[in-house]
Symmetry: C2
Subunit: 255 residues, 2 copies
């Protein structure tokens, strides 16, 4: 028979963790709003009654978590965690877990179709203007695989943004970040890849403008299937995401 639980486990978190938790609580429950200053390290030393080294360790935790940042003058203030940084963390995790391109492809097919559906339904004129601008840039760099891959990545970010669904936006980002480097390789290796990519984007913008859901879904599928065919010319879908891709993700994160 199990004995009645007389005692609760004691919370023996180290001090720096308690500092981080305390500040996090204040931010998450809204008492400290994004943009509000946190105070200097010395302030925190006085408030928490612990050493500055301890405070600094707590600050590192929060900084890495994206809850606080230092502005140009290195002063601390609360902030909204940024999607791209969070997504980079996730991408890194996916790489370490050695997910396959098949998993990436399947998940992206779902997420990008959902994005376009949302975009078709809710895109604003401003969204469309951004997409048009992106298309123009893409057309200008159709011969430059690296630039084109960058435009492609941005295009899909803009489509997700046009869906007005931030959950979707965040959910699709990690997989998209891992796609990005392969797009460059594919456009480099397949001659007609660049023009096909730009043409697909054009159809997608048209579909959004015409609020034509069918067309949007259809061209998203084709676009991704194009990627897949191109990828299978250089590697198997069952290959796991290589460590080398992290270089891209790391560079992106620092930006």
């Amino acid at each position: 028979m199990p004995i009645a639980p007389l005692f609760r486990p004691i919370d023996v978190a180290p001090a720096y963790q308690k500092v981080a938790d305390a500040i996090e609580r204040e931010i998450v429950n809204g008492r400290i709003k994004p943009g509000d200053p946190i105070g200097t390290e010395h302030d925190l030393v006085r408030q928490f009654g612990v050493n500055r080294s301890t405070i600094r360790e707590g600050i590192r935790v929060l900084e890495e978590g994206g809850l606080i940042r230092r502005d140009s003058s290195r002063r601390l203030h609360a902030c909204l965690p940024r999607y791209s940084k969070l997504a980079s963390r996730l991408s890194r995790a996916l790489v370490l877990h050695e997910v396959t391109f098949r998993e990436l492809y399947e998940a992206s097919m779902t997420l990008e179709v959902a994005s376009i559906e949302g975009a078709v339904e809710r895109a604003t004129d401003e969204n469309l203007a951004e997409l048009d601008a992106n298309l123009l840039r893409s057309e200008a760099v159709v011969g430059d695989p690296a630039m084109l891959a960058e435009c492609d990545a941005e295009f899909h970010v803009l489509v997700a943004k046009a869906s007005q669904n931030r959950v979707l936006q965040l959910a699709r980002e990690p997989a998209a970040q891992l796609f990005y480097p392969t797009t460059e390789m594919i456009v480099t290796g397949v001659a007609e890849g660049g023009p096909r990519l730009v043409a697909a984007h054009r159809h997608l913008i048209d579909a959004i403008r015409d609020r034509d859901r069918e067309a949007g879904v259809l061209w998203t599928r084709r676009h991704l299937q194009d990627w897949r065919r191109g990828f299978e010319k250089i590697a198997s879908l069952d290959r796991s995401v290589e460590h080398m891709y992290m270089e891209h993700a790391q560079a992106a994160r620092r930006r």
Copy 2:
């Protein structure tokens, strides 16, 4: 005319960041494998030639990023970032960005449907056994909203796991974590909610076992629509995720 780039920007990151980056690089590119020991703080002091305080700040960054952990004896070793922890970070971000339940619902509809499709296609006998076990537990606690909500959350994690797609698994988790507390509220408020929930789970397991994709999708949709109807009895879908839900997420993260 742009001048030829004679110099590259100098990297002026603080030392603790460089320490963290250096260790991260070794882990990400595979030279340090998950499970490998990192060495003591003193070792790192010797290797990097910086003060222990600096090393410790770097360690905090990596620890928060989920790349290294301390085992029972507090020794450092590399590890695979855990999905639940990453997802908690994302959930926290979604709360701070004040996403609406409508966004959550729409994204989840997409992600859960994709999960069930994958599960129908690829679930193993072991996956099914886990789902069966979960169903038994759910039936036992159908009168206890808190326990039932927990079972429901676990059920959907198991379905995603059965899809064998880790990208999907990770993508759906943040939204799912935010659903969890509302499920309890709904089951509490709506009398027939518990039995309907369990019935839906039963149909979903049947669909997976029979490899009946149509039924799987249908019952996933119904299951989520049930949630939606229940939710709309207590609040508007356009309400943003409340700060109070973070308490759940925080508790989950510590586990």
